[in-house]
Symmetry: C2
Subunit: 382 residues, 2 copies
């Protein structure tokens, strides 16, 4: 098993290079987020470095900053793509069909491989649910203890699931931000390394593999990619993956990336000076109820660089989209439906044309929250 | 899109050939089960007829008795395989990562394509849960109405899920056999075509694709395959897939097939004259609580022909196996754990040696029955 390509870790704020002697998740000197940069991509041909014996994330080990001997012992990624004609050519990336039921398995997989390589025994993660579940599941397969900080108001199904997976679950009253503060306090007290997916650059490295898979499944022809944006890890991961593909010469341009937020959690539109309704905050899109993502300016940059845009959807639009998704056979959670709702809106507003090839990333399984799905679908009269 | 290879439909009892003018699921004259036989396999090279543009069940369209224009619009199959060293080399086929959360999506997919091709509008299915869910999900994507007959005692999570998928759910008091009788009554009253997976040969055609995938993932090296056996569709599907691979010259011999049953539902061991404990019936393995599978003699034949065997596991063994599976990151339902429990037993009894390559098929997602998993895992002191 060969090592991956050479890479460096850089602070996005002061641009200094970080040497990885122990676990880091931000630049402690200037509080900047960290990013990983692979070297010499221009000399690499993507299709030549695939490990074709795998149909999962290990296929891309050459471009992942971890050693294969430390990866969790369960395959992640390699999820299907479903094509539908819905005005435009729509491709649903069924990333909810990962082992723990969400795309976050990819980020947790790479993070845990690095944590293990660095000899850490215990992790701390804060999550509205799916990331905590992904970390709990994969940590267990790696013999690492997971301490998961979640909001008290998170769906009961997700809490039960975390406990089933053997995680130490810490419920915190208050907002998503309060949960984050408690997790960081625990880290300072030495209760483990903080792997929070809002910051952690290794998480993004895992998520970028969605771009690689989309390239393998669809080649150059993607025009738009719609993703829910909470902390922006998924969005930035996909951007990074396509940027690397571009640097390797596999594609001439990166698809237009469309960031989807829920009503009341519109940090991007605010920053971009766009108008949006603020009457009430979403109660349904629990995976993306984040007011101030730490990587906000990086997300804005990715939208601008790809000539994408951002869309805010209401709970009413989410319910309608969720119903249609279930009718199409996609059992996903309400947060996933935001991306489809945003596509419908953009298509009806002619922001997206009929001949476009559009990818919609379906992020989380509805099986974990069947009660919630039932109440959303049956109690709404849409 | 070319047609598939030529095939015929035969009665397993009187050997007469059936012409498919309208939907059939058994030979009405003699009550025999039907089987589909492809012609000229000896002139085919398996690796040459794969539709390599697909990583799902459509990859095998040449060997599936349906037209591609009628298949449901959501990809099924192409599930991952996880390797673990557990005494022997164990490969877990993660078939619970199908769109509806179980391997039964494969059978429903092919059945519905045929139903649609024949112009039927409504199906009737009886199921302890997973098959009903698979049919409901895929029927909806095909614009077909699903009438699902289930036992009143089926897990609540599964019932809720069926309703969410828009199925007409009919709950029947009594045993699994009573449910079957009610479904057949409905068919006689003209309420739709009966697609019951205990009988329906198209269901088995879908399930045989697991064998194709295992061949692609592992080649010739499989020694044993452990599967839970209820009606035997999975077992016979895998047998048929490997038999076809053998007929195409892709493998010299079929792996030894191990049929796993739950305590109290031991039709196979009875028939084979083996000793087993009958003290109490399993309460956990709800997917395989079937006393008299209609294809019993076909299953016995497959065990004998592959030099396999059958194993009966207790609820205590199921709980222990389920705990270990969750520790390994496989969130499956108790029925899936029967196959792993049977492997553990067979390995400790030295029926399976250390150098063996063993496949264990993980059949159903635990996400649908999280409450049940919680109560099974936390209330047991194993």
């Amino acid at each position: 098993m060969g090592d991956c390509l050479k890479y460096s870790i850089q602070c996005s704020k002061c641009r200094s290079e970080i040497e990885l002697r122990e676990w880091v998740w931000k630049h402690t000197e200037c509080n900047g987020t960290l990013n990983i940069e692979f070297k010499g991509l221009e000399n690499i041909r993507f299709s030549n470095i695939l490990r074709k014996e795998y149909n999962d994330i290990r296929r891309y080990m050459e471009l992942l900053p971890v050693k294969q001997e430390y990866v969790p012992k369960i395959p992640v990624g390699g999820t299907p793509l479903a094509k539908r004609h819905l005005g435009a050519n729509v491709y649903f990336k069924m990333d909810y069909l990962n082992p723990s039921g969400s795309f976050k398995d990819r980020g947790a997989y790479i993070t845990l491989a690095k944590v293990k390589e660095l000899g850490c025994q215990e992790i701390i993660e804060d999550s509205s649910g799916n990331a905590g579940i992904a970390f709990s599941l994969l940590a267990r397969t790696a013999g690492i203890k997971a301490n998961i900080y979640i909001p008290k108001k998170a769906p009961e199904g997700k809490k039960r699931f975390l406990k089933l997976l053997g995680a130490n679950v810490v419920e915190v009253e208050g907002s998503r931000e309060d949960v984050n503060k408690e997790a960081l306090k625990a880290e300072r007290k030495g209760k483990g390394v903080y792997v929070g997916h809002w910051w952690n650059p290794f998480f993004i490295e895992g998520l970028k593999t969605i771009a690689y898979e989309l390239w393998e499944q669809l080649g150059e022809k993607i025009d738009y990619i719609f993703t829910p944006v909470g902390s922006g890890g998924l969005f930035l991961g996909i951007f990074k993956g396509f940027l690397e593909l571009k640097n390797m010469g596999a594609i001439p341009t990166i698809p237009k990336l469309v960031a989807v937020q829920a009503q009341g959690y519109c940090s991007l539109c605010e920053k971009l000076g766009l108008s949006y309704e603020t009457k009430e905050r979403s109660k349904l899109a629990d995976g993306i109820m984040i007011l101030k993502p730490p990587r906000l300016s990086e997300i804005i940059n990715a939208i601008r660089e790809t000539e994408g845009f951002c869309v805010v959807v209401s709970d009413k639009e989410i319910v309608l989209a969720l119903k249609e998704l279930i009718n199409m056979g996609f059992i996903v959670e309400p947060t996933s439906a935001t991306a489809y709702a945003a596509f419908k809106k953009s298509f009806s507003e002619k922001l997206v044309g009929e001949s476009s090839n559009v990818v919609i990333v379906l992020t989380g399984s509805g099986l974990k929250v069947l009660d919630k799905l039932n109440s959303v679908i049956f109690r709404s009269n849409l």
